[in-house]
Symmetry: C2
Subunit: 153 residues, 2 copies
Amino acid sequence: MRITAKADYAVRAAVELAAVEKSDKPVKGEYLARLQGIPQNFLENILTELRRSGIIRTRRGADGGYQLARPAAEITVADVLRAVEGPLAAVQGIRPDELSYGGAAERLPEVWVALRASLRDVLEHVTLADIARGRLPAVVKERTRPKDAWRAH
Amino acid sequence: MRITAKADYAVRAAVELAAVEKSDKPVKGEYLARLQGIPQNFLENILTELRRSGIIRTRRGADGGYQLARPAAEITVADVLRAVEGPLAAVQGIRPDELSYGGAAERLPEVWVALRASLRDVLEHVTLADIARGRLPAVVKERTRPKDAWRAH
DNA sequence: TTCTTCTCAACTAAAACAGTCGACAAGATA
DNA sequence: TATCTTGTCGACTGTTTTAGTTGAGAAGAA
C-alpha cells in the first residue's frame, strides 16, 4: 500500500502546472524540478509519460515547456496516478475484480474490491485545481477531520 | 497501490484459521498451504511473523500447528496486513501524517491522509470471522454494490 | 546555424519481492 | 531415552521494481 516516488512526483508536478494554468505559458522542466525538489531527469521522464497519456502538452525549443492539456478542474489525482502506475489497486499484479479464491477465503475478493472503491472515492474526486487552490473537496475534509486521522498507524 | 503476495497469503491463511476456530485443534502448515495453494515454506515464514505480532499461536511437535490467538471476530484485516507489511499507507516509505511539501502541493498531504483514512474505513472494519462466515459488513456491501465497482479501472 | 528545450532508449545500483534451504528446537509418543 | 513430527530461524537466491542517470537526437525559436 505504498505510493512510489514516481507517483508522488507526478502529482506534485501536475499540481504546479495547475497553479499556473491561466498564464498559458509552458513551464520548463528545470523550473518544475526546482520548485518541488525533484531530480530533473527523472521528472522529465515522468512528464513524458503524462504527455503520452494525454494529461499534459509539451513544446520544445526556447519558450518550450510543459502545460496541462485540459483544465485543471477536470483532471483528478486518479488520472495522474493511473498514467504513471497503471491500475489503482492490484493483488499480485491482478486486478481485484478478476481474481478468485477457494475455501474459506472465497469472499475475500469482495474486500479487495471494496478497498479499491474506497481509493477511488477519494482519488477520483480530488482535482489538480482543488489542491493548487487549497480548496479540498468534502470527501477529503470529512476523512481528515477526525484528529485520529492524523495519528500514526 | 498493490497488495503483495505476502499480504494476500497472510490474510487467506488467517481466514482459514478463522474458519476452524471452534475446533480448538491447531492446523498444520502443510494443510494450510494446500488449502490455499500457497508455497509451504514461504507460508510458514509468514505465519511466524503473524505469531510474533500476537495474531496467531503455534505449537510444535506432533499435534502441533497454528491457531488464532484471539477470537476471529476481533481480528481485522488491517491487523493482519500491518503485521506483515507495516503501516497501511506510505509515500516513499514515509507515513502521510509526517510529510510536508512546498509550493502549490502544500495541501497534498491532506489528500494522502484522506486516502489512508479510506483504507482504514474498510480494513479496520472487516474481521476474519466476517470473511470466513461469508457475512461481510455494511462498509463492504455499500462499496461493492455499484456494478461499476466490479469493472476494471 | 545555433541555442534551447523536450524525447527516447539504454543503462545502472539498490531495494523489495517471492520464494528456497538446512540446521535446529520443542513437543508427543513409544 | 530415542525417535518422529512439526514449527523456528537465518541465510541464501533469482527476479522484478524502484529510482534514478546518461547521452544522442529531434524540434522549435532567434
